[in-house]
């Protein structure tokens, strides 16, 4: 449905002014270097899975601004003044469909984008992992103590992440777009695992913790996974 609607947008934009479209492959990846949290835990994230959908690419609207916004509002019922609908740029590119990604370089599909200068990316969280949104495995190490962890994270289905940095000029030939998960924010000291005291969570001192929905630790992780600082789209 959304693809066909996006086609309407493209057609409308093309009608008003030539707006060439490119088809760019999208892959996902993540840096592998360990990161250090605010509590001094060094995190080595060994495995990630994230359920997401409807990857959108946004442009600082000029040529397509008003028309694009209105068309999308018409076809998607965009409610700018409601939570989850922030007017953070005009959507002029998208990769439809739902995906479960491990951020290990695997392809997500082929996105369609109108040629132009891009500024941001949005996507929606899904519950495609047996009802969960994310699964994270890794180790946390501090002062010689290492704790393994396995976390299942639930985020409201359809909750939108808005404004992941995507600073690129898109033109022919289309580049490969890389959606990255960043455990360490590139713009602040924040990490995905801040405020998590792994030692306190390891109550039976067996060196392993499970983080599950309903727990404070889960809620901390759930909150940080929804911050756009922890994602970016780059080109290769």
């Amino acid at each position: 449905m959304r693809s066909s609607l996006f086609a309407v947008l493209l057609a409308a934009c093309q009608h008003s002014q030539p707006a060439p479209e490119v088809q760019a492959p999208v892959v996902s990846d993540r840096p592998r270097a360990p990161i250090t949290t605010d509590l001094g835990w060094q995190i080595d994230l060994t495995r990630v899975r994230l359920s997401l959908g409807e990857l959108q690419f946004t442009i600082a609207g000029e040529m397509h601004a008003s028309l694009g916004a209105r068309l999308l509002a018409l076809v998607e019922g965009t409610a700018y003044a409601h939570p989850g609908h922030y007017a953070g740029g005009e959507v002029t590119g998208e990769l439809p469909g739902d995906h479960v990604t491990a951020f290990d370089g695997e392809p997500l599909g082929v996105a369609r984008l109108i040629v132009g200068r891009y500024r941001g990316a949005n996507f929606r969280f899904r519950r495609g992992l047996d009802g969960h949104t994310a699964e994270l495995d890794g180790t946390a190490t501090r002062t010689g103590r290492t704790i393994t962890f396995h976390a299942l994270v639930d985020i409201d289905d359809g909750a939108q992440l808005v404004g992941a940095p995507f600073d690129a000029e898109i033109d022919e030939p289309p580049p490969t777009l890389v959606l990255r998960l960043l455990a360490q924010s590139p713009t602040s000291p924040n990490t995905l695992f801040d405020k998590l005291d792994f030692a306190a969570l390891d109550t039976d001192v067996d060196g392993h913790i499970e983080i599950r929905p309903g727990e404070d630790a889960h809620n901390l992780l759930r909150r940080s996974l929804q911050v756009h600082d922890h994602y970016e789209v780059t080109t290769e």
């Binding site: 700018y80 003044a81 359809g158 808005v162 889960h218 809620n219 600082d229």
Partner: protein, 243 residues
């Protein structure tokens, strides 16, 4: 001769277009403000009764026509039988209009009930949120058309900034009453961190306490003609002002 024909055609075209009229702009908080938000709306059984819902509006415009410079304060709890409070009437050329307006201050006072529990609140939000792109439903065509700036009070009690389906809830607000004196104050709301809450997700907004959460929601209350949508602009400025 050709010029005369062209001029006549233009005149006829003009005569066939929408006619000059009056745009009557009102502000309305719906039944939720005038009569209260019933328990059925809340996910956790609370209900709300407002005794004051004073919206200070400014720079209300319809297209390029400034209708009300303001600021002026409209207490939307005053019973209006659905008509809302009159903000301005302005003569405008015929056509359809998009409205823009600023909500420069919102003061809400009231009480919440749940069984034998009762909490009061009296909050003031010095917001500078601008709502734009509010497409009025009724066109002007020789008539007095009404455009209603609608404020959705239930948004103040939404429990999520980014969910597609936020709930209306008050439990956490009630829990913020740390001194248990029955009044939930700004200071108590500011002292309630959200980091470990399952609900009250904030996305990338940076909001980290319940006061800022509610203050952020103030920037979502603006609508047009009931459920019509506006674009919220200057939201970051509004957030900064709330601190």
């Amino acid at each position: 001769m050709k010029e005369k024909t062209l001029a006549l055609s233009l005149l006829l075209l003009a005569a066939c277009g929408p006619r000059h009229g009056t745009l009557r702009i009102t502000a309305y908080g719906e039944e939720f403000v005038e009569e209260g938000i019933p328990a059925e709306v809340f996910a956790d059984g609370w209900s709300i009764h407002f005794t004051r819902f004073a919206a200070s509006l400014a720079d209300v415009s319809a297209g390029s026509h400034l209708a009300f410079a303001g600021p002026g304060t409209f207490d939307l709890v005053m019973p209006s039988a659905g008509a809302g409070q009159l903000v301005a009437e302005v003569g405008v050329p015929g056509g359809s209009y998009e409205l823009a307006w600023r909500l420069v201050h919102l003061e809400v006072e009231g009480s919440a009930q749940k069984g034998s529990l009762s909490k009061t609140f009296h909050w003031a939000f010095p917001r500078a949120t601008r709502f734009a792109g509010c497409a009025a439903a009724e066109p002007v065509d020789g008539n007095v058309a009404t455009a209603q700036l609608t404020l959705h009070a239930d948004h103040l009690f939404y429990d999520d900034l980014i969910s597609e389906d936020p709930r209306v809830a008050f439990d956490l607000v009630a829990q913020a009453d740390a001194d248990d004196d029955g009044e939930v104050t700004e200071a108590e709301l500011r002292a309630l961190p959200l980091a470990t809450q399952a609900r009250y997700q904030v996305g990338s907004t940076g909001v980290d306490n319940l006061w800022d959460f509610i203050a952020w929601q103030v920037s979502t209350v603006g609508h047009i003609d009931g459920e019509g949508h506006c674009e919220t602009v200057d939201r970051d400025q509004a957030k900064a002002l709330s601190r």
